[in-house]
Structures are given as structure tokens and as C-alpha cells.
């Protein structure tokens, strides 16, 4: 994944969420964001039926 795009996402996201981003954390956050986004891409590509219910457990 494009390093500049990951850095832009890190900068925008942490600013909006109010999370500090120290320069020495960036390489690790970038690595983990890249891994997580590749898992997200795999999940988002899943050809699931529209009517499928999600699975979190909630009982009133």
C-alpha cells in the first residue's frame, strides 16, 4: 500500500480522533495500518447476500 496514502490517513485520522502521533510511532502504526487495511480489503471483497444479518450477540 502507498506509504504516502497511509501517512495521510494516519495524520487525518489521528487528528480527527484526538490521538497524538509522535514521529517515532509512525513506522509501526503505518505497518499495522497497512496490515489491517489489507485484512479490511479481504473482508470488504466478500460477496455476501444483502439480506445476511450480522453476527454480534445482543439479547434485550
Amino acid at each position: 500500500m502507498d506509504e504516502a496514502a497511509l501517512d495521510a490517513m494516519i495524520d487525518t485520522g489521528t487528528t480527527i480522533l484526538g490521538i497524538e502521533m509522535k514521529p517515532e510511532w509512525r513506522a509501526a502504526v503505518r505497518m499495522h495500518l497497512g496490515i489491517s487495511l489489507s485484512h479490511a480489503a479481504v473482508v470488504l471483497e466478500a460477496p455476501l447476500p444483502d439480506h445476511l444479518d450480522p453476527a454480534p450477540v445482543f439479547r434485550a
Binding site: A28, L44, A46, A55
Partner: protein, 461 residues
């Protein structure tokens, strides 16, 4: 340390005294914990008082419980009255001490077991390594330069090292099964919703489980039976009858249909993991290989749910105390906070789909075998390893074979298998929801056959 059911039988019959057992246990913890760093607190005074009370009760004719006098310890995310529930963190040291024991601790003690302390773990359970920057790593009893596995590293280390015969841990993506594999002990992750999680510090509510570690299948089963039962204090705990398993362990495996998982589960596995899997399959006469559909996507979906729910749980702490986190945990959680929400919703939809597919497989098979970890325990501090010819970061990838099953809450017993490297490795026995009895019967058959063994690590002359 003698195994749990042997201690209970000895104390119950009057051949042994709980105070003697406890004295020996505390002495061993005192000698070996400096080597293993498995414990973060030892509740010696409480344990000796309970042991003396048990001896007195038995002398007065009280019926001993099935775990009479058995010392046990719990991962330090489980509440122990008077201790701070650290969950492996520095930040939680500022919390007040727990007002009471978690229900699982209460249930084990109601069966006669005696708590001896709290166990080291990876910070906020987000590791597979057993490393902890605040407490130091818990160490592998078979090679103290190596990882105990995580996140229930202290649990695996303490049981594998023979400091206690029984311990509790938690498993969100493999945190019981990974340390069981690395430390050469049996571990049970029951069906999601079977064992109450009340009184434990959460990680990922969608995926969190609690469960036992032991060095024999009978010990695992007796502890599991003692802990079963509905608890409205955990909204996920399912109100269903208790299914005791200790009495059916030796009913054999005749007629059970067992297959090994292929494809994904053989890709990237080390020769030791594959040899262990094949030896377990051979011992069971399980010739079939089953291909689990979309298992890579199941692992990805578990990964997404974990990192985003974890980020949500810790958002305020990330904002206010980022420097007090273990950097390895903080940086993953920050990344998790940035993920698109649509991926999380889709992951929960995929979870439903994958569950349906797995239930279809369980119409054909009663149990599925898979490696617990891709390799034996890495060295403490090791950051990368080679999986399927690619260099990969260790921490996010040790759980590749455990994540797909906890993702949909299937019961799994991890059984320990010796390897040619003088280090153990685990094999998972996975069954349909609520069929812990089958997984434990298969594990027991493997124990009887000598294919799964949990010797105490030789830590002293």
C-alpha cells in the same frame, strides 16, 4: 506438582493434607517464578488460610469437592478480591483493587480449588507472545529464552513449569491455545457463551472467552465442569443446562468422524507443526482432509473486529495516556482506530456466513484437527518469522490457525505434542458449538494413546 485430580483424590481420601500441598506449591512458586516470571501476585496468606480451613472441614467430615485442595492461578485480567485487575497494563495499576473474585474463581473454589495468585499476560491481551514491557516476559518452561505465547503467557508458563496444576486464561483469537501450544499443556476454549466472563477485564467482547489450562484432560474436564453454568452478569453467557463431561471422557471415540484441516492450515506451517498434526491424525485413524471454505477471510474478519473493538475499548486511554501503553500494543490500536467502519459491519456479516458453512462441515465430521501454532515458540524479542516463504511480523501472525475458530466461537481443545526440537507444539481439536464433550473425549483418547503428553518441564535438578 502433581496433577489436579490426583491432588483432589489424595486430599479427599485423607492421604494428603491441603496445607502440605499448598506449602509445597508456594515453595515451588518461590523457587521457580524468578526463572519463569509467570506470576504477578502470589496470594500466599489467602491460600494457606483456605488450605487450613479445608483440612479442618475434611477432618470434621465435610465432603471434599472434585478439586479439593488443588492450587490454581488466574491470568491477571480476572478479578481477585483485593488485587488490582491489571490486564497486563501499567494504566490499570491506577484502578482500585477488585472488590470480589470473578465468578469463575468463585466456582473453582466452591469445588475445593484454592487460588494462589495472578498471572502475567501481554498488555490488554493484544499479543501472542507472552511479552510484557511493564512486568517483563513470562518465559517458556521448556526453554526460558523462548516465548511462553500469549496473551495468557503466565498461564501456560505456570502450568507447563509445574508451578500449579491448573490455571485460567482468556482467548479472543487464540490466547489460550497459543500458550498451551508453546508451553506443552492442554487448553480448553469452550463455546462462546459457555463460561461466564463476568469479573474479567475485556478485550473484544464479540470474541472474548475464558477457559482453563492443565496437564491432563481429566483436570481440564473437572475444572470445566466446575465452571459451567449460566451467569446473567455476562450478557453473552447463554442460559442452557450444564453439560458435565468428566464422566464421559473415557467413553472412547468409536464412531466419531474426524478429519484434518487442509489447505490454509498446511500453508505456512513449519515441519514440526505438520508432523504433529499428522501424528495426531494417525493416532486417531483420521485419514480424511477437509477444506474449510474462506478461512483466510475468516481470519481477516476476526482481525478487523479485534483491532477495531480493541481501539474503541481503549480510545480514551489512547488519547490521554499513550505513553503508558506498551508501544507494540498502542501502535496496533491506533491503526485499528483508523479503519473504515464498513469493514467492521461486513466482518460481522461474514461471521454469520462462515458459521453457517462450518455447521455444514460438522454434519460430515464430529471433529476437525488443525495446528495450534505455525511453529514452536519463537525467541523472546523475536520480531519476525518466515511463514510460507515470506518474512512476517511475529505478533500479528502467531494466531493464524487459531483465529478462524474463535471467530465463530467454536469449542477447541489444544493438545500438546512433542517435537524433534525438544519443544512442544499444539494441535487443535475443533468441534461443533456446545460439543466440548467430543473435543475432550478425543483429547483423552490421544492422551491414553500417548500421542498427546504434557510432561512437567525440567527446570531444576
Amino acid at each position: 506438582m502433581t496433577q489436579a485430580t490426583e491432588i483432589a483424590a489424595g486430599i479427599g481420601s485423607g492421604r494428603m493434607r491441603a496445607t502440605d500441598v499448598m506449602t509445597a506449591c508456594l515453595d515451588k512458586i518461590g523457587r521457580l517464578n524468578p526463572v519463569l516470571n509467570a506470576f504477578t501476585a502470589v496470594t500466599a496468606e489467602r491460600a494457606m488460610a483456605k488450605a487450613a480451613a479445608l483440612d479442618a472441614a475434611i477432618a470434621a467430615g465435610a465432603a471434599p469437592g472434585p478439586l479439593a485442595g488443588v492450587p490454581f492461578a488466574v491470568k491477571n485480567l480476572i478479578d481477585v478480591a483485593g488485587l488490582r485487575t491489571l490486564a497486563g497494563s501499567k494504566i490499570n495499576r491506577d484502578h482500585p483493587p477488585a472488590a470480589g473474585d470473578a465468578p469463575l474463581v468463585q466456582r473453582l473454589e466452591a469445588a475445593g480449588a484454592i487460588l494462589v495468585g495472578a498471572l502475567n499476560m501481554g498488555e490488554y491481551a493484544y499479543d501472542f507472545t507472552g511479552e510484557n514491557v511493564h512486568e517483563g516476559p513470562s518465559r517458556n518452561p521448556f526453554d526460558t529464552a523462548r516465548m511462553s505465547g500469549g496473551s495468557s503467557g503466565g498461564s501456560g508458563s505456570a502450568v507447563g513449569g509445574g508451578l500449579v496444576p491448573l490455571a485460567l486464561g482468556s482467548d479472543t483469537n487464540g490466547s489460550i491455545r497459543v500458550p498451551a501450544s508453546f508451553c506443552g499443556v492442554f487448553g480448553l476454549k469452550a463455546t462462546y457463551g459457555r463460561l461466564t466472563r463476568a469479573g474479567s477485564f475485556p478485550f473484544v467482547s464479540s470474541l472474548d472467552h475464558l477457559g482453563p489450562f492443565a496437564r491432563s484432560v481429566a483436570d481440564l474436564a473437572v475444572a470445566y465442569d466446575a465452571m459451567q453454568g449460566y451467569d446473567p452478569a455476562d450478557p453473552v453467557c447463554v442460559d442452557r443446562p450444564v453439560d458435565p463431561v468428566a464422566g464421559v471422557l473415557d467413553s472412547g471415540i468409536g464412531g466419531l468422524r474426524i478429519a484434518s484441516a487442509g489447505g490454509y492450515f498446511r500453508t505456512g506451517a513449519s515441519p514440526e507443526a505438520l508432523t504433529a498434526l499428522d501424528s495426531i491424525a494417525a493416532a486417531l485413524g483420521a485419514a480424511d482432509t477437509v477444506m474449510i471454505p474462506e478461512v483466510q477471510r475468516a481470519r481477516s474478519a476476526a482481525y478487523i473486529i479485534t483491532t477495531t473493538e480493541g481501539a474503541a475499548l481503549h480510545m480514551q486511554r489512547l488519547r490521554t495516556r499513550p505513553d503508558d501503553f506498551d508501544a507494540d500494543v498502542r501502535d496496533r490500536l491506533i491503526a485499528g482506530a483508523l479503519l473504515p467502519a464498513a469493514a467492521v459491519a461486513q466482518a460481522q456479516k461474514f461471521r454469520r456466513w462462515f458459521r453457517e458453512e462450518m455447521l455444514k462441515l460438522f454434519q460430515r465430521y464430529d471433529a476437525i484437527l488443525a495446528p495450534a501454532t505455525p511453529c514452536v515458540a519463537p525467541l523472546i524479542g523475536q520480531k519476525t518469522f518466515v511463514l510460507d516463504g515470506k518474512e512476517m511480523p511475529v505478533r500479528p501472525n502467531i494466531g493464524i490457525y487459531t483465529q478462524p475458530f474463535s471467530f465463530i466461537g467454536l469449542p477447541v481443545v489444544a493438545v500438546p505434542v512433542p517435537t524433534s526440537l525438544s519443544l512442544p507444539i499444539g494441535v487443535q481439536i475443533v468441534t461443533a458449538p456446545w460439543r466440548e464433550d467430543i473435543a475432550l473425549r478425543v483429547a483423552r483418547a490421544l492422551e491414553i494413546a500417548g500421542a498427546a503428553v504434557a510432561p512437567v518441564a525440567k527446570l531444576e535438578a
